[in-house]
């Protein structure tokens, strides 16, 4: 036995610096506290404080930061945190994440509306829908779990055949998957006579959600379309769940396995990390969160519409992860909030303001991809690790991964001249 040869007295002094995961824990606790305060503060602000503000301030908030934009941004946050598991933690490029968003959305469509009533199915479970309505009406918390599970299953399904593929090829396969699934829903009105998705007409409206299925009126009343503050709180709770899961898994055995795979797949396998199982787990957990995001989005817009699930969603999600800082769940959250806000509110409102002032007709929102693209290019040139890189990346990015030629300080510009 190796250890029996050691004389106990000769054991080197245990290093005194704290283990790095303790440092990470402390950092995360600080961030978590900050976010809890910010999230609750925002809620209290919209719920109580905004009404008593002067009209100008109220208008400014209604214009530049309406609560509905915040709620939509939360959908992006949930999905980006999911994608971060796949891309940031396990290092697997995924260009088709919109598929899970769509599948999650349709789970809400199927299980929270009249829709399946067309096949004479009627089932109610802890739902706020009128009991006489046909179709499947399940409490939304349970639908969240179902959607997560269904997406995790599809995550494994897409993951399994792609496991042997590396970077570019993997990206292309996931890209294909992200195209196929939404197309299935777009054309899903008549699949051998079965109406899966109602095609581009979509499934709307959905059942109203309740904070709790039973209990006093205050917590079990159905939330109407204008009950944005309460929905905001509930959605924020789901974000908290995703963050919690991300952080716990990260520090556990599976998280270590992902990290090792991201750093060096071959070496990871030599350490006894089961590559297949660990990668599939990453797909499954990421997809689970994508499913949650899909349900939340469906609730937010009160319906599922097939033509909304397009490739650009996958790309924007990836941009959010890269911008925020791959692997750092807090950074990803900030990246998602920021880009979602730019996309949904800032560009349109800026456009209105500028066009009003200059009497022009520039379509600002249509420049969003120019802006996102530029952000990505600038990030790759000047800050590859993202705005808020994870702690472990921060120290090493002084020497970012350049190409081998660059490493050798080869004279690449000589070509151009």
């Amino acid at each position: 036995m190796a250890s029996t040869t050691i004389d106990a007295a000769a054991t080197p002094p245990t290093p005194t610096a704290p283990p790095s995961h303790e440092v990470v824990d402390r950092t995360n606790r600080r961030w978590a506290l900050g976010f809890a305060i910010a999230a609750l503060g925002l809620w209290a602000f919209y719920k109580f404080a905004l009404e008593s503000m002067p009209g100008g301030v109220q208008d400014a908030f209604q214009t530049w930061l309406p609560l509905t934009a915040v709620n939509e941004a939360i959908v992006w946050v949930i999905c980006a945190i999911g994608l971060n598991i796949v891309v940031g933690y396990a290092g697997l490029l995924d260009l088709g994440f919109v598929a899970f968003w769509a599948i999650g959305g349709y789970c809400a469509g199927w299980f929270m509306s009249f829709f399946l009533g067309q096949y004479d199915i009627t089932f109610h479970f802890l739902s706020a829908a009128p009991p006489t309505q046909s179709g499947i009406h399940i409490n939304w918390w349970i639908v969240l779990a179902i959607a997560g599970a269904v997406c995790a299953f599809f995550g494994i399904l897409i993951g399994a055949p792609t496991l042997r593929l590396k970077s570019d090829y993997l990206a292309i396969v996931t890209l294909g998957f992200g195209e196929i699934i939404p197309q299935v829903f777009v054309n899903g009105e008549d699949i051998a006579g079965f109406n899966l998705s109602n095609g581009t007409k979509g499934i709307t409206p959905l059942d109203p959600i309740t904070a709790l299925p039973v209990g006093p009126e205050a917590v079990s009343r159905p939330l109407g379309p204008f009950d944005l503050e309460t929905k905001y709180l509930l959605f924020a709770l789901i974000v908290a769940f995703c963050v919690f899961v991300s952080l716990r898994i990260r520090e556990g055995r599976l998280g270590r396995a992902w990290l090792a795979i991201r750093e060096d797949e071959l070496a990871a396998s030599m350490m006894g990390v089961p590559l297949m199982r660990s990668k599939l787990a990453a797909y499954a957990v990421g997809a689970f969160m994508g499913g949650l995001g899909g349900v939340v989005f469906a609730i937010h817009v009160n319906g599922v519409f097939a033509d909304r699930f397009n490739f650009s969603i996958s790309i924007i999600l990836l941009a959010m992860v890269v911008l925020g800082g791959m692997g750092n769940v807090w950074g990803v959250m900030i990246g998602a909030l920021g880009l979602a806000w730019i996309n949904s509110t800032f560009l349109p409102k800026l456009g209105e303001t500028v066009n009003d002032a200059l009497d022009t007709e520039i379509n600002f929102p249509s420049y969003n991809f120019l802006i996102f693209g530029s952000i990505l290019v600038l990030m790759m040139l000047f800050r590859r690790e993202g705005l808020f890189p994870e702690t472990r990346t921060r120290e090493l990015v002084q020497e970012p991964e350049r190409t081998e030629l660059e490493d050798m300080h080869a004279d690449l510009e000589g070509d151009v001249r």
Partner: protein, 243 residues
């Protein structure tokens, strides 16, 4: 120091052939590694040494032939299971995890184990073998020098508590003084009861620490014998060992 074969063969390789697609990298190789020995596998670049190690550790599978470890056939076992059986592999080119600290690298070396106390004891043991690593325990592995990274690669493999340690080119790219240090450590590891299969291009250094040696050339086994005899045979040294 023991010489020649010591005790039962721990690892037995019988007539294996390994292919990359249609290209045979190892052709009909047989070798045995006795319990408690240092056996070295030497030969020039592209002779099939690393392929052999990767086949033993389950990253590749032989097209024909069999590998048995402690009497159990492992030729078809996937890599992550082979580690659990007691074979650890310190890969060519170190391949430490650059963005993890030294400590986290060691922790990953023990990935297949769950005996907390045993892991802590082995962590102390490898830090005693490589005091330099103890000094850098919370440093990101990617920021260390090549020699330190090599030490970490060996230490990390030791964390799996292997009964057989596969070392692929541990002296590659190191300054002579560090090469000596690594080879001294290899002997210390053997003294602690771990059997070692060492792949080296630095043949003379390998023959100095090894008990028994196999020489490969273009996928074939060319020569074998007690390490000391091979090292002293001028003809062998000239023909195969670049002496």
């Amino acid at each position: 120091m023991s010489q020649g074969a010591v005790g039962e063969p721990l690892l037995q390789v019988d007539d294996i052939s390994v292919y990359y697609g249609n290209i045979a990298a190892v052709k009909g190789l047989s070798m045995s590694v006795p319990q408690g020995a240092i056996v070295t596998l030497i030969g020039s670049n592209g002779a099939g040494k690393s392929t052999t190690l990767r086949t033993i550790s389950g990253l590749l599978h032989p097209k024909s032939g069999r590998i048995t470890f402690e009497g159990k056939e492992i030729s078809r076992s996937p890599g992550h299971e082979v580690v659990g059986m007691g074979i650890a592999h310190s890969p060519e080119g170190r391949r430490i995890f650059p963005r993890m600290t030294v400590d986290e690298n060691l922790e990953l070396g023990a990935f297949t184990r769950d005996d907390k106390e045993g892991i802590a004891a082995d962590r102390d043991h490898v830090l005693e073998l490589f005091p330099r690593l103890a000094e850098r325990i919370n440093q990101k592995a990617g920021t260390m020098s090549g020699g330190e990274q090599q030490m970490l690669a060996v230490a990390r493999a030791m964390m799996a508590k292997p009964r057989l340690l596969l070392l692929d080119e541990p002296s590659m790219g190191l300054a002579p003084v560090l090469v000596d240090l690594i080879f001294d450590t290899i002997e210390k590891i053997r003294e602690s009861g771990v059997t070692i299969l060492l792949v080296e291009q630095n043949a003379l250094a390998a023959l100095r620490v090894a008990d028994y040696a196999y020489v490969m050339e273009s996928g074939f086994l060319k020569l074998q014998g007690p390490a000391r005899e091979l090292a002293e045979d001028d003809e062998v040294v000239r023909a195969y060992l670049g002496g």
